[in-house]
Amino acid sequence: MAATIIEGPAEITIAGVADLHAQLREAIAEGERCTLDLGAVRRLDASGVQLLLAAARCRVALYRPSEAVRASLEQLGALAQLEPAFEEEAA
C-alpha cells in the first residue's frame, strides 16, 4: 500500500496550521495511508493539538512525536486520546 509521509514543520501553531491542514486533507483525499512525522516539531499550540486530534480520527499515523509535542498534548489533556495513533517506527 502506498504511503504518504508528511514532514511536520518545526512549529505547528496558529500561524502555519492552515498549511499543514491542507497537506493532510490532500493526502487523505487521495485515499492513501498517511503518516505525519512529528520528530522535528519544537512547538505545538492548541490549534496544532486540535489538528492532530482531527487527523488521528482520519487514521493518520503520528510518527515519533517529539518531547514538545507530548508536552503540549499532555497539557491540554489530549495525550491519552492520541497515544493509540503514535508510531515509533516508520510505516
Binding site: 491542514h21 486530534l53 489533556g77
Partner: protein
Amino acid sequence: MSDDIIAQLRTVFFEEAFEGLGVMEAALMDLDTAPDDPDILNSIFRAAHSIKGGAGSFGFENISRFTHGMETLLDEMREGRRSVEPALVDILLRSTDQLRALVEAASEGGEVDAEATRALTEELERILAAEGPPPSEGPSEPSAAEPASSGHLVRFVPHLDLMNTGNDPVLIFRELGELGELSVELDASRLPALESLDPEQLFLQWTLRLEGEADLDSVKEVFDWVESDCDLEFAPLGGPEPVGTEAEEQAPAPVAAEVAEPGPAPPPSAPSPVVEASPPKAPTSKAPTAPVAATAVNPPAKAGGPPPSIRVGIDKVDALMDIVGELVITQSMLCQIEKEFDMSRLEKLSDGLGELTRNTRELQESVMRLRMVPVSFLFSRFPRLVRDVRSSLGKEVELEMLGEATEVDKTVSEQLTDPLVHLVRNALDHGLETPEGRREAGKDEVGMLRLSARHEGGSVIIDVEDDGRGLNPDKILAKARERGMVGADERPSDERIFDFIFAPGFSTAAEVTSLSGRGVGLDVVCRNIRSLGGTIEIKSTLGKGTCFSIRLPLTLSILDAQLVRLVEQVFIIPLLSIVESVQVRPELVSTVAGGREIYRLRDQYIPIIRASEMLGVKRPESSSEPRLLVVVEAAGGRAGVLVDELLDQQQVVIKSLESNFKPVPGISGATILGDGKVAFIIDVAGFVRLAAQRVAGLNEALEERLHD
C-alpha cells in the same frame, strides 16, 4: 531602572490613563442606550482595572484606592449581580471625573478636592455595602473568604476565534499548573472532521481541576487576557459542578451567586470588545466615539507639567521614513552632480532640484500630518455634556456627530475645545426649546443638535447646528439700536444683525427673553476663534434653528501668503484675508475729517490704509505713490491696504515675533523667504480694526444716496 526610564513610563501611564478615562466615559454613555451589553461593561471595567494597576505600580495610592471602589462596582455590574441603573451610571460618571482630576493632579501637580474624593469613595462604599453580595463572598476580598479552599473547578469554553487573538490554552494551562495540581479533561466532542475543519478556529473545550491553596482571584487572573474570548465558569472543587455545557456566562461569575441563582445569563457577546477595538471612525456616527488609540493625545497640559506629548499612528511615521529615504537619495544624487559638474549636466541638476522641491513639500505635509488629530477628540466630550444638560434642563436632545474622522491641528483642536463647549451649551440652553415648547411649535419633541466637521479647501469647517427656536433678528436689532450700535432707521442684513450677538456684553438684558443669555460669552468664543485665525458665521431661521459655522485654517504654522512690496521691502498679507485687489482710481478717493482717506469701492466706502506709513517704511521723495489697493477682510470689517506691487504667492512658515523678539503692533509674525531675507506678516485684523472707526456712519450715508 534609571530615573529617565521611570519618567518615560510615567508619561506613558498618564497617557494611557487619560485614554482609559476617555474610554470609560464614552462607554458609560453607551450604557444609557445599551445597559445590558457585556462588552461595554467589560471595556469600562478593563479601563478602570488598568488605571488602578498602573497607579499602584507608580505609587499613586490615592488613585488606585479610589479606583478600587469603582472597579468593584463595575465588576458586580458586569457579572450581572447588580443591574445597570441610571443612578449607578451617574455615580460612575462622577467618579470618572474625580478620577480624571486625581490623574491630572498626579501628572501635572496641583490640588484635588480631597473632600469630593472622600465623599465619592464613601458613596461608592455605601452602594457596595447596601445591595451588594455579602462581602465575605465578594471578589474584593476573596482571599479572606476562601483561604482554605481545597481547589477550583474551571469550565473553559473558548470562543472559536480565541487563537486568533494570540492566546494559547497550552500557555494558560501551564500557568494554571503553577498554582497547584492541575488535571485537564478535554472535551473534543465539538471537533468537526478533518475534511470540514477550519484549523484556525478552536473547537475544543476543557474542564480543569486545580487542587491546592490558590485563591479564586489568582485563578481568575490567569484567564484575564482571554476572558472576553471564552466562556468561563468557576466552582469550588467538591462543590456542585457548573451547570450545562453551553455556558453563556461572559465573565468569571462569583461562586455564591452562580450556585444560588443560575438565573438568566447575559446575552452572548460579540467576539471582541467594541470600544477598545474601535478602528478610526467612519465619517458618520451617532454614537460617542472612543478615542482612536493610534493617534490618541493627552489633554492639554497646564503650564509647569511635563511637555505635552502626542501619540502618532505608525503609518504616519512610516510615510515620513519613506520620504526621508527619498530625500537622502536626492541629496546623494545632487552631491554626485556637484562633484563632476560641467555645463552638460545642468539639466540633471535642474531635475535633481525639482526632485528636492517635491521631497521637501511631501516632507512638510507629512510632518504636518503628525500634528493632526481627528476631531473625534474634540467631539467625544459632547455626548456627556448633552447628557448632563439634558437631565438638568429637562430637554430631550438627540446628538448627531458627523465627520469625526476629519483631522485638525492638535493646537487648534485644543484651543477649540472651550469655544465649542460654549456653543453647544448655548444651543442646548437657549437654542432648543422644552418638549412642551417644541410640541406647541409643531416640532418633534426630541430636539436635534448636530456637530459636524469637514474639510473645505485649506480650511476645516465645524458646524454646531440646532433645530431650536432660532434667532430673532428684530429683537437683536432693537437691542442693537438701544445700545447705539445701529442707527435708528438703519436695517442691516440679517447676517450683520446676527453678528451683533458676538459683541461683548450683548443681550444680557432680560427683555430679550427668547435670547436671554445668548450673548454672554459669545464674544469670548468669537475672540478665541479669531485668535486661531478662524472665522465664525451664524445662519439662523426664526423658529427653525441656528447654525454656528466655524472656519479654521488647517494649521497654524504654515500660511498661504501674498507677498507684497512696500517701497523696497517685502511684506506678507495672508492670502485668506484678501478679498480682491484693485488699481486705485484717484477720483474715488476722498478725504474725511482728520485727513483720513476712504475709497469708494462700488457701493461701499472702505478705509484706505497706507501700510508703508503705518509700518514706518520710509518713502523716498523720488518714489511714486503706491497705486494698488489690496482689499482685505478681517475682524468683521474691510479695509484697503495700499501697496506698491503684488509679488508672488507662496506658502510660508510662520515664525513668532512675540516669542523670538517682542510683540510689534501691526505685525503678526515673520517668515524667512527663499533668498534668506526676513519678511514680516501684516496683522490684517489689527489693521482693519484700526481703520474701522474711520468709516463708521459713512456707509449708511452712501446707501441713502444710492437709494435716492
